[in-house]
Amino acid sequence: MDKSHASGCAAKIPAGILAGLLNSLPADPLARKRLLTSARSNEDAAIVRMPSGKALVQTIDFFTPLVNDPYAFGQIAAANAISDVYAMGGEPWCVMNIVCFPVNGYPFEILEEILAGGAAKAAEAGAVLAGGHSIGDTEIKYGLAVTGIVNPESFAANTNLRPGQVLMLTKSLGTGILATAVKVAWEGAEAMEQDVIRTASKLNAGPARVIRELGLTAATDITGFGLGGHLLEMAEASRVDIRIEAKALPVLPRVHEMASVGLLPAGSHANKRFRKPETLVAPGVDPLLVDIAFDAQTSGGIVLALMPNQVAAARNLLSDSADEAHVIGSVLPPSGGPRLHIV
């Protein structure tokens, strides 16, 4: 514990700088209706109006930068944090910033950009920014604590997979591998970074709408444990097996090539190794696709569990919101052996 470089509240970012940064954020039109306290009066906490009859969805996520553009990083970190609310079928209601920033190291304009990116995504998601907390640190970290609202009688959980359901994924895979290629400045890094930014900063609002409109009871978002890891969490919670078709997996451009030259991040190796005992890979499956299935995703898509007769409706809804819709596999009765079958 004595390795901390400052004690408790002494580690805060200087007040004058913080005030300037926060005042430079655009005024939030939702604040007037939803916040009972003023965001500009330095209250100890925010008081937020709640719609009656709804249950709260609460989650928090933050991480270190994976792209070089601070505004895009803010957008991605916010989209990633908000995604957990969407994965339950909820609607984002209010968010709070969590910021770690080196006080002596980077210009504060970078922090301003990060916060602006995050605020823009929160606004796009229809959530009010209610406050936040910042601390000086050796490296940049940013994210959100998110509160959403959901119908207490109808939400999507990991526990409700049933044999016969079809699994649909709403974003292509490979952001972990591409971010690694960007980090090593591989040729074409700029285009790859743009692909990461475009996919990871996209809100999962469309898939959440599918959950609500079709009354789906099982879904999850794909993040750090990779598609395989998150599917196994669902399979274990629901006591079923899952089969995914390797060739049906949607993969971002150049991911396969980057995996083939060894640009798999350590986290993705760890995901695959940790889940090896629960994973059965059919002979002839491209091993690189298995790696991609366990690639750690940042702000990945949502896996929706659909009855076969709901696939067309889900596809139509996702098409309306310009989301991808890839049927990647199905839910099987438990075999007693490994729960994830990659064929």
Binding site: S172, K183, E187, R198, P250, A266
Partner: protein, 208 residues
């Protein structure tokens, strides 16, 4: 000739790849000995070396692995220009870095006679490598996606393009429509957003 030793112990991922990439860009040593201290690094480094035309074998010791790599002979040097490192060199040498995107929305070339159109398409795809490195992405849409399915008459031509560094993007919704999702044999599944972004980023778009 003695092997060049690259000690990658204690290096966090992906530092070993950065070190080796730099080494291969500066010189192209015949023998390299790489030392790593974790399995992910062993796997990544072995893959990287194989992708750059090296035959690599590894030996395990407690807590570390030694990867001995030998640049493959003349047969392999034909493969080398395909490698990402060599591609970068070629890209730097020629000033022409324009990105050309070719979009195929049909399995045949033009209208008139489909048997002829099929032959023309095969010939077109076989000749397309004449574009050289500027051929950036080939996008297959609508009936064009059948070209990328198993048993397609042009699968070798498409694989050849992919190996020379052209991204082949295959419309996922179209594969699904033709029930070919599980039978795609080449290329990466893509969506309309990728297609539109690719068109925007490309310097030249050719639609057939």
């Amino acid at each position: 000739m003695d092997a060049i030793t690259v000690d990658c112990r204690t290096m966090p991922c992906p530092q070993p790849i950065i070190r080796l990439k730099r080494l291969l860009e500066e010189s192209s040593p015949e023998r390299i000995l790489v030392i790593v201290d974790n399995e992910p690094a062993l796997e990544n480094v072995s893959r990287f070396l194989a992708s750059q035309g090296y035959a690599a074998t590894s030996t395990a010791e407690p807590g570390l692995w030694r990867i001995a790599a030998l640049r493959e002979g003349d047969a392999a040097s034909c493969k080398a220009p395909d490698s990402a490192v060599a591609r970068k060199k070629a890209g730097n040498a020629s000033e022409n870095n324009d990105k050309v995107l070719v979009l195929l929305a049909s399995p045949v070339f033009g209208s008139g006679d489909d048997a002829l159109g099929g032959k023309l398409m095969k010939n077109f795809l076989a000749t397309l490598p004449e574009f050289g490195k500027t051929l950036w992405r080939l996008v297959l849409l609508n009936g064009g996606v059948t070209l990328a399915a198993e048993n397609s008459p042009v699968i070798d031509e498409l694989r050849n393009l992919e190996q020379s560094g052209t991204d082949i993007l295959v419309c996922g919704a179209c594969l699904d429509f033709f029930e070919l999702l599980a039978r795609k044999a080449v290329g990466q599944t893509t969506n309309m957003l990728d297609v539109v972004t690719s068109m925007q980023v490309a310097d030249k778009v050719i639609i057939l």
